[in-house]
C-alpha cells in the first residue's frame, strides 16, 4: 500500500487541512486544556469575588513556585521516556543541606551553591543507576525517593531551621516593587519559556523526542543517548534543589518533611499536560496549561475552604481523566472507522 492511497482514502474526523494548520505543540489536547482553564476561571470568578483579583494571582503564583519549577525537568524526562519520582525528596534534602550550611555560618550564596550541588549529585546518582547500571527509572527513583527523604530526616530529625537569610525569604515571598507580580513568577516564566522553546525548536529537544520515541534509533543516529539522559537527571536534581530552597524561603522553614508527596502532583501535571508515559509524545504548552489548570483549581478550592483531601482527589481525577479520555476517544474512533469501512465495501 503506498502512502498516497492511505492519505487519500482514509476518512478522518479532522480534515487533513485543519490538522496541518495545527502545529505539533498545539493540537486538540492543548485546545481541550485551554477550554478547561477558561471554564475553571469563569466558574471560579462567578462563585468567588476574591478569585479574579491581582492579590489572589500574586498569592497563588507565589505558593505554586516550588511545584511549577519541578514540572519543567519532569516534562523533559518524561518526553525522553524516563521518570524521576525522587524530586520531592531531593527538594527536601537540598533544602536541608542549605539550611544546615546557613545555620553553620556559611554565606547565603555559598550555602545555595552547596544545596544545588546536593541536588546535582542526587540527580547524577539516579542517572548513573538508570543509564550505566541499566535499571528502570521508575524503580531507581522510588528507591532514591526513600533514600533522600530518609537522609533529610537523619540530618535534621524533627528540627526546623527558621533562621533563613532575608534575601531568600524576600525573593520567595514578595512581589516586584510596585506590582503584584512575584519575583518567583518572573523566574519561573524565564525558565519555562526557555525550556519550551528548546524542547520544541532546539537541537536538544529534538534529540530528547527521538530518544523517547525509540532510543535505539537515536543511538544508531549518532546521538549520545546515555549522556543526554544522565544530563536530564542532573537537570532534574538541580531544579528540585532550587525549588526546595525557594520553598524553604517561602514557608520560612527548612524541615525534613518539606514537600512530602509533591512528586505525584508534579508527575500528574505532566500527564494531564498530555505527555505520554511511554515517551516521545507531548507538548510543553500542554504541560503549562495543565499547571495553570491545577493552580486555578487549587486556588478556587482554597477560596471555597475545600479540604486538602478534596484537592488531592480533584488532581487525581484529572490525572485519571488525562489517561482515560484519549484512550476512550481513540477506541471510539476506531470502532466507528471499522463500521464505516465495512459498510462501504458492501
Amino acid at each position: 500500500m503506498t502512502a498516497q492511497t492511505t492519505g487519500r482514502q482514509s476518512p478522518t474526523p479532522v480534515p487533513a487541512a485543519v490538522r496541518r494548520r495545527l502545529p505539533s505543540w498545539f493540537g486538540t489536547w492543548e485546545i481541550t486544556l485551554l477550554a478547561l482553564v477558561v471554564l475553571a476561571v469563569a466558574l471560579a470568578s462567578a462563585t468567588s469575588p476574591y478569585f479574579a483579583t491581582g492579590q489572589n494571582f500574586s498569592i497563588s503564583a507565589t505558593g505554586a513556585l516550588g511545584l511549577s519549577l519541578m514540572v519543567v525537568p519532569m516534562a523533559w524526562l518524561m518526553v525522553a521516556g524516563e521518570i524521576d519520582l525522587s524530586v520531592a525528596s531531593t527538594f527536601a534534602l537540598s533544602a536541608t543541606v542549605f539550611g544546615l550550611a546557613v545555620s553553620g555560618g556559611l554565606g547565603t550564596w555559598p550555602a545555595i551553591g552547596l544545596g544545588v550541588l546536593t541536588g546535582a549529585v542526587a540527580g547524577l546518582v539516579n542517572g548513573l543507576l538508570v543509564v550505566d547500571v541499566g535499571l528502570p527509572s521508575l524503580i531507581v527513583t522510588i528507591g532514591t525517593l526513600g533514600l533522600y527523604r530518609g537522609l533529610s530526616y537523619v540530618l535534621l530529625e524533627n528540627r526546623g531551621i527558621s533562621d533563613l537569610p532575608p534575601g531568600l525569604t524576600t525573593f520567595a515571598q514578595e512581589n516586584l516593587p510596585g506590582t503584584l507580580v512575584p519575583y518567583g513568577f518572573v523566574a519561573f516564566v524565564v525558565v519555562a519559556v526557555a525550556a519550551a522553546v528548546l524542547l520544541h525548536r532546539g537541537a536538544l529537544g529534538r534529540a530528547v523526542f527521538a530518544i523517547g520515541s525509540n532510543a535505539q534509533v537515536a543511538r544508531f543516529s549518532g546521538l549520545r543517548v546515555g549522556a543526554i539522559k544522565r544530563g536530564l537527571f542532573v537537570f532534574s536534581g538541580v531544579v528540585a534543589a532550587i525549588a526546595g530552597i525557594a520553598y524553604a524561603g517561602y514557608i520560612s522553614t527548612v524541615r525534613a518533611s518539606n514537600g512530602t508527596g509533591l512528586e505525584l502532583i508534579v508527575v500528574g501535571i505532566v500527564l494531564i499536560g498530555g505527555i505520554s508515559m511511554y515517551g516521545g509524545k507531548g507538548s510543553f504548552v500542554g504541560v503549562l496549561l495543565a499547571l495553570l489548570l491545577v493552580t486555578v483549581l487549587t486556588s478556587w478550592m482554597t477560596l471555597g475552604d475545600a479540604e486538602t483531601a478534596v484537592q488531592y482527589m480533584v488532581t487525581g481525577l484529572l490525572m485519571v481523566g488525562a489517561v482515560v479520555v484519549p484512550a476512550l476517544s481513540r477506541r471510539l474512533h476506531m470502532s466507528r472507522e471499522r463500521r464505516r469501512s465495512a459498510g462501504s465495501v458492501r
Binding site: 500500500m1 503506498t2 502512502a3 498516497q4 492511497t5 492511505t6 492519505g7 482514502q9 482514509s10 476518512p11 496541518r20 522553546v197 528548546l198 525548536r201 532546539g202 537541537a203 536538544l204 529534538r206 534529540a207 523526542f209 527521538a210 520515541s213 525509540n214 535505539q216 534509533v217 537515536a218 543511538r219 544508531f220 543516529s221 549518532g222 546521538l223 549520545r224 516521545g280 509524545k281 476506531m334 472507522e337 471499522r338 469501512s341 465495512a342 465495501v345 458492501r346
Partner: protein
C-alpha cells in the same frame, strides 16, 4: 480436475481506509500445489488470515465443497480441514514440543478431566512421524533451530483431517538443505491428496514445486494458470505490473584511491583477523550466512560495538573509532539491518527523521529551523523519489521501500564518505529494490566508498565490484572480478572452500 476443496470468490477486505484485498478469486483442488505470488502489500497475508479465521471478508464468499461457509475463528477453520502455517512461528518458546502440539487442538483428557499426558505424547510422536521428522518431543521449543521450529509449525498445523495446507512464506528462515526437506514433505502430502497453498515471493522454489500459479497485485488476483506457462521474469512482470528490464543496473565507475583500510580487526565472539581495503567509488560486498560476523564488522566500523584489536585506516591515517560520534566525524555512515527498531522513528514525520543524524553536530543548546528541516526533507524526497504526501507525513504511513529511502537519505544528509549498507533491501518489494540498487550505484559514481551486506546473494553479486566472503567470523576467499560465479561464492560462504584469494 475434480471439484475444488476450497474456492474464494470475489473476496475483499479493508482495514480503516486501506484496501488490503480488493477482489480475489482462487480455486484450490485436491492434490495440487498452488503458488500465490505477490509483492509485499499485495494482500497475501490478509488472504491467509481470512482462510485461518482471523479476519472475515467484507465481501465475497468462501466456498467449501460447494457450500458457502463463514469462518469466524481459527477453530472453525481447522474443523473445515484448513491448516495454516503462519509466516512467523507462533510457538510457545518455554513449552516442550509435546505441549506445543497438544495446545494446537483440544487437549486429550482422562475421565477425571486431568490431562492425559501419555496420549499427548503419542499424538506428538504421530504428528512428527507423519512428516518423517525427528525431534525430541520433550525439548523446549526455544532450544530448537529456526528450521526445526518451522517444521514443528507444520506438524502442529496438520492433523488427520487436513485437506488444505496453507504455507505463508515458509522458507524465509530456512537454508537450502532445509528447503529441500520441506519440498519432500510437500510432495508427500500432495500424494496423499492434500491441497497446498504456497504463499511466497522467492521464485526459484515456487517454480520447482507448483502445479499452478496465481499472482496477486494491489489486492486482486491478476493472473492464474499452470506453472509451466510462467517464467520467473513473466511472474515478476505480473507482480509489479510492468516488465522489469534489468533488475540491477550497475554503472562502471573509475575507482579512486584507497579510502578505508582495515587491518587485523577482531572482536571476541564475533570476528577474527579481518583485513580489507575499499577505494573511492567502489562497492565492496560482504557475503556470508546469517551469523557469519558481517553485521558485527559493520557495527565495529561504525563504533557501535568497537573492535577489540586491529587497525582502521582512513585515507592512509590510522584512526580510532570507539563510538558512533567518532565514526561520523570520520565520515562513516551506517544504514542498519533493522529499519523499524534501528533506522527510523515510525511515529514521527519525514521532516523529523531526516535531520536526526545531523543533530549531534549542532550546538547542544542551539535552535533548529523548521523551514530548513522541511527544505532538507523536500530536497531528499525529490532526489530519492520518496513517494509521500510531503515532509509532514509520518514514517509509519510509508511503504517499506520508502522508509528505507528515508534511512538512506538521513545518512546522505550527513555527507559521508564511507557508507555501510546492512541488508538495505530487506522486506521491500521488487520495484523499490531496483530503485535502491540504482541509488547505491549512483552514490558510488559520485565517489562514495560503499560496503554492502545483503542476505540475497543474487543482489550482492549484481551490485558489488568486489566480494569478500565470511564464514563463522573468519574471512574467506575474495572475489574481485565481475561477473562472479555464484556457486563458488556460495561454497566459500558455507565454509567449503577456505584458501584465501581465488
Amino acid at each position: 480436475m475434480s471439484t475444488p476443496v476450497i474456492e474464494l470468490s470475489g473476496v475483499a477486505k479493508r482495514f480503516g481506509g486501506v484496501v488490503a484485498v480488493r477482489h480475489v478469486d482462487l480455486a484450490l483442488f485436491p492434490g495440487e500445489v498452488h503458488a500465490l505470488l505477490g509483492e509485499n502489500g499485495a494482500g497475501k497475508s490478509t488472504l491467509v488470515n481470512m482462510l485461518a479465521g482471523i479476519h472475515r471478508p467484507d465481501a465475497g464468499a468462501i466456498i467449501v465443497d460447494g457450500a458457502e461457509v463463514t469462518i469466524p475463528n481459527p477453530r472453525t477453520s481447522r474443523a473445515l480441514g484448513i491448516s495454516v502455517v503462519h509466516q512467523h512461528p507462533v510457538t510457545f518458546p518455554d513449552l516442550t514440543v509435546t505441549e506445543n502440539i497438544m495446545l494446537a487442538g483440544p487437549a486429550p483428557r482422562r475421565r477425571t478431566r486431568l490431562l492425559d499426558w501419555g496420549t499427548a505424547r503419542r499424538h506428538a510422536r504421530e504428528a512428527l512421524a507423519r512428516l518423517d521428522v525427528h525431534l525430541d518431543i520433550s525439548a523446549e521449543v526455544k532450544h530448537l533451530s529456526a528450521a526445526d521450529q518451522q517444521l514443528l509449525e507444520i506438524a502442529k498445523a496438520l492433523d488427520t483431517g487436513t485437506r488444505l495446507l496453507v504455507l505463508d512464506e515458509p522458507t524465509a528462515a530456512l537454508s537450502t538443505r532445509e528447503v529441500d526437506r520441506l519440498m519432500e514433505i510437500i510432495a508427500r502430502l500432495k500424494a496423499d491428496g492434500v491441497s497446498i497453498l504456497f504463499v511466497g515471493h522467492r521464485l526459484n522454489e515456487v517454480f520447482a514445486l507448483a502445479d499452478r500459479v496465481s499472482v496477486s497485485r494491489d489486492g486482486a488476483t491478476v493472473v492464474t494458470g499452470p506453472a509451466h506457462e510462467f517464467t520467473p521474469e513473466s511472474a515478476v512482470g505480473h507482480m509489479v505490473g510492468r516488465s522489469v528490464e534489468t533488475a540491477f543496473p550497475k554503472a562502471e565507475v573509475e575507482l579512486g584511491p584507497a579510502r578505508l583500510e582495515v587491518r587485523g580487526l577482531s572482536r571476541r565472539g564475533a570476528y577474527t583477523d579481518v583485513s580489507f581495503t575499499v577505494r573511492r567509488g567502489e562497492i565492496l560486498g560482504l557475503a556470508g550466512l546469517v551469523g557469519a560476523g558481517r553485521t558485527e564488522i559493520a557495527r565495529g566500523l561504525f563504533g557501535l560495538e568497537p573492535a577489540d584489536s586491529g587497525e582502521i585506516v582512513l585515507d592512509g591515517a590510522a584512526v580510532s573509532i570507539g563510538s558512533p560520534q567518532q565514526a561520523m566525524r570520520h565520515g562513516v555512515a551506517y544504514v542498519p539491518e533493522d529499519r523499524h527498531s534501528e533506522g527510523v522513528v515510525l511515529e514521527h514525520s519525514i521532516g523529523f527523521n531526516l535531520p536526526l543524524a545531523l543533530l549531534e553536530r549542532r550546538p547542544r543548546l542551539g535552535l533548529l529551523s523548521p523551514q530548513a528541516d522541511r527544505a532538507l526533507a523536500g530536497d531528499y524526497i525529490d532526489r530519492l523519489r520518496i513517494r509521500t504526501s510531503g515532509p509532514d507525513q509520518l514514517l509509519g504511513a510509508l511503504s517499506g521501500g520508502n522508509q528505507q529511502k528515508v534511512v538512506i537519505a538521513k545518512w546522505l544528509a550527513t555527507d559521508p564518505s564511507v557508507l555501510i549498507l546492512d541488508d538495505p533491501t530487506k522486506g521491500i518489494d521488487v520495484g523499490a529494490k531496483a530503485e535502491v540498487h540504482q541509488l547505491i550505484s549512483g552514490m558510488a559514481e559520485r565517489g562514495l566508498t560503499i560496503i554492502l551486506i545483503s542476505n540475497e546473494l543474487e543482489e550482492l553479486l549484481a551490485v558489488s565490484d568486489r566480494v569478500i566472503t565470511f564464514y563463522r567470523g573468519a574471512q574467506g576467499p575474495e572475489f574481485d572480478r565481475r561477473p562472479f560465479d555464484a556457486e563458488q561464492v556460495l561454497a566459500a560462504m558455507t565454509g567449503q572452500v577456505s584458501d584465501v584469494h581465488v
